[in-house]
Symmetry: C2
Subunit: 249 residues, 2 copies
DNA sequence: CCTTGCGATGAATCCATAT
DNA sequence: GATATGGATTCATCGCAAG
């Protein structure tokens, strides 16, 4: 089976993963931002913060959006420390973040022992303009490695800017990432290596990993989203088998 | 005269500017990054750090690249504090930075009293790819305001991503910014308002401000670059007059 | 005027060697 | 042992000249 999906809290499950068992950590943790005051950030649900009041979709809420600034940094450090342990030498971490949490994320990454290597941008062409302001049309991918970069182990050349709109049709998660972007990013993991995503959500990272011939280990707390992720990954494999065998006559 | 160029150290000259005399701070300070060890960062010239070993151009060096990490943050805070004082209420700051100094820049901005509002990206299509890595193809624009955003004062909608290559033809500064990008950015300053750039360099911000009908106050330490900036801005005005009057017959 | 081809370049990063 | 210097890497893009 090229993928495993654990159900439970990210930190608890991570602590049970064996040392040096994955090649790349690629994840999109809850941002705990989206609000000017502490109470706006911590007292509201993800859905209230990240979806417009007039949005008509009925996407499910997700947990883990109630930390204040300090505890967010602390919690993220713990998480990245456990992930570091589970990653092989010269393995890579790619962490999605928004502008507000970017400095905290680079701090937490380094606090956890990773060598910070840079920032890439994900540009979302469809985003709301605001009068008298610069549009917040990018999210950011903070990346680093466990020790030195091994150019023999990983021979791809990846871009520093990814452009794609959030999925609209068939979207099942509020902050779902486009699979085409994730497919590019999983190439940072050596072929047939293992990608870890402790916040699997609706499973886009897993789908992308499978499509690119990587193994996948995911963790998801919410049963609602874990069910969706399992289904999407299973469909992906069936589709692959179909492609390989061709239609039966 | 729609522009003024002071020659001297940014901090010293800033301290002599009157309170609330400019509408927007738009600048590209020296980054003091580039290098893994302290001595690599502080002991080498800008040219040694930021130009490829095989480059054939002979652009002049620029000063101010010898601060270590802590003093960079301290110095930038002082600078942004003085700029804050010189800026009107609801005025805007746009500060260029690279990935390494981005967290320090957001800290310094806030330490100086500005309200941090976001990050925009400048994507440079021409940048060196590297094996096993994500390309560093973006620089970042950290932006904030002095107090609340006043949407009546400033009615433009600005993008969050700017794509343009560094000037190639006629480039005079190692880190010269494309005028078309700066022309977009100066629109954050109300029409006929004043843009301040304490690191004027070869004067691209000034040229952009003049083209967009904004006043400009610049500061530049190096006489070499101050001469170039004066010339470029003077040419810009002559060109404008020419455009307005049409060719003489 | 448009197309093709060639050459130069990058706010980079790292390793090997010298001091 | 820490720091300084030199050289190799790599490709999308852009300027320019030729066709």
């Amino acid at each position: 089976m090229p993928y495993t999906l654990h159900r439970g809290d990210a930190l608890s499950v991570l602590s049970e993963l064996p040392d040096a068992s994955v090649d790349a950590l690629i994840t999109d943790p809850p941002y705990n931002s989206g609000g000017r005051t502490s109470s706006e950030r911590t007292g509201r649900t993800a859905k209230a913060k990240y979806t417009a009041a007039d949005a008509e979709h009925q996407l499910a809420n997700f947990p883990g959006e109630n930390r204040d600034q300090r505890s967010y940094g602390y919690w993220l450090s713990l998480l990245l420390t456990e992930s570091y342990r589970a990653t092989v030498e010269s393995g890579t971490a790619l962490i999605f973040t928004d502008w507000r949490q970017l400095p905290t994320t680079t701090d937490a990454l380094q606090a956890a022992g990773w060598t910070w290597r840079g920032i890439a941008s994900w540009h979302k062409p469809v985003s709301r303009p605001q009068k008298g302001r610069l549009k917040q049309s990018c999210e950011y991918i903070v990346w680093g490695t466990k020790g030195p970069v091994d150019a023999n182990r990983n021979t791809v050349y990846l871009p520093g800017l990814y452009q794609a709109s959030q999925p609209r049709k068939g979207r099942v998660h509020i902050t779902q990432k486009p699979v085409e972007v994730m497919q590019e990013l999983v190439k940072i993991c050596p072929e047939a290596g293992t990608v870890l995503d402790p916040f699997a959500g609706s499973g886009s990272t897993g789908v992308a990993a499978l499509r690119e011939g990587r193994q996948f280990v995911g963790i998801e707390l919410s049963d609602h989203y874990a069910d969706i992720a399992e289904q999407r990954m299973a469909d992906e494999l069936t589709q692959d088998d179909f492609d390989l065998a061709g239609p039966q006559e």
